[in-house]
Amino acid sequence: MGEEELKVLGAWGSPFSRRVEIALELKGVPFQYIEENVFDEKLKSPLLLKCNPVHRKVPVLLHDGKPVVESLIILEYIDETWKNNPILPPDPHRRAQARFWAHFIDHKCMPPVWTALLGSVEEREKAVEEVRECLKTLEGVLDGNRFFGGETIGLVDIAANFIAYWLRAIQEVSGLDFMNEDQLPLLTKWCEEFVSCNVVKEHLPPRDKLITFMKNWLSANGWSWTD
């Protein structure tokens, strides 16, 4: 299957589009990457708007011209299309658990991070506490395993890329203390193992670029470092 038959529309800083890249790397499938401007509606490409008219977001996976959208849905599509290095285990109950924790990361862990950054000062403390609770839960889920997927990375690890990399950058830039390494030794070790994986390291945004971007983004959204 030629490279031109598989395209990924993504954004360099998006954890969601990086998830797709990791999965394709894991499967050893070559693809053409197309960078999209996701911050300016007017600059979104006609291809993006045609492929994802409902949400108008990245990532989009284009396989033989057919679009698949929503990162977790794309990950399952990739796993079902290329059978090597499975992302989901074969057992139905373990699959259900993996889907549950991936959903948990997107719906419970991430939203309070944004609230902590964009909400009022009153909302911030509660939001930080919510994130801490989520991370504590994930520490328990790891249960001494090297990865959420067991010996190798799986759906939950890939979904948690945000925690392994972006959350730490956000912590550094904002000064908010989401992740206490002493209280989360397993999760801390997992972060280091995850970002060191061969299939992951090429698909993380450059740190300096991300930090600069976050600083500017926070400033633009009224963040004050004197709080």
């Binding site: 698949v68 849905i73 599509y77």
Partner: protein, 219 residues
């Protein structure tokens, strides 16, 4: 091999209805346990400590949470009958996308119709109609979202049909007038025993919401 199947549920929940339909489609015998959400059982809290929500499917003592995850689990375990997801990966991704769309949009927008008034309610009504029209467009000329056969997206969406009456009363509009094909699809689904037995009565839902509004102090 069936094993022991228990469903912790709450009768008006569209999410619980999805799991009831999937179990019925596969003709699985299970124990239905009604939860009082103001007084959650120890079992519910033990089986879903993260969200403390229904529905919870318990199979041989092991919990599965989140309705769409439950439907996929049921489809994968009892894979010898009434398939809900098609075998083709692209069609599966499409069904999952629209089921995710239903989750992102329909519940919250519908909720705004009975929880809010004035401009907020009008905006929600407008957006709900747009979303239902988008979904209706996905039917094409097929009898079901799954094509010839009732499938995953049909299961994900049809429970909302018993809530349409409530949305229409509060929003003062007719969903059938806006989306006739969608209502024809819903009525077609209701001819299936698995759906008819799983959905709640629409007037009972309306009464339930009236009582809920009073209890929550919403005018």
């Amino acid at each position: 091999m069936e094993g022991e199947v228990v469903l912790l549920d709450f009768w008006p929940s569209m999410f619980g209805m999805r799991t009831r339909i999937a179990l019925a489609e596969k003709q699985i015998k299970y124990e239905y346990r009604e939860e009082d959400l103001r007084n959650k059982s120890a079992l519910l809290l033990q089986m879903n400590p993260v969200h403390k929500k229904i529905p919870v499917l318990i199979h041989n003592g092991k919990p599965i949470c989140e309705s769409l995850i439950q439907v996929q689990y049921i489809d994968e375990v009892w894979n010898d009958r009434a398939p809900l997801l098609p075998p083709n990966p692209y069609q599966r991704a499409t069904a999952r996308f629209w089921a995710d769309f239903v989750d992102k949009k329909i519940y919250d927008l519908g909720g705004k119709l009975w929880r809010t008034k004035g401009e907020e309610q009008e905006a929600a009504k407008k957006e709900l109609i747009e979303c239902l029209k988008l979904l209706e467009g996905q039917l094409g000329d097929n009898p079901y979202f799954g094509g010839k056969d009732f499938g995953f997206l049909d299961v994900a969406l049809v429970p909302f049909y018993c809530w349409f009456y409530t949305y229409e009363k509060f929003g003062r509009f007719s969903i059938e007038a806006e989306c006739p094909k969608l209502i024809a699809w819903a009525k077609r689904c209701m001819q299936k025993e698995s759906v008819a037995k799983s959905l709640a009565d629409q007037e009972k839902i309306y009464d339930f919401v009236l009582h809920l509004k009073k209890a929550l102090g919403i005018e």
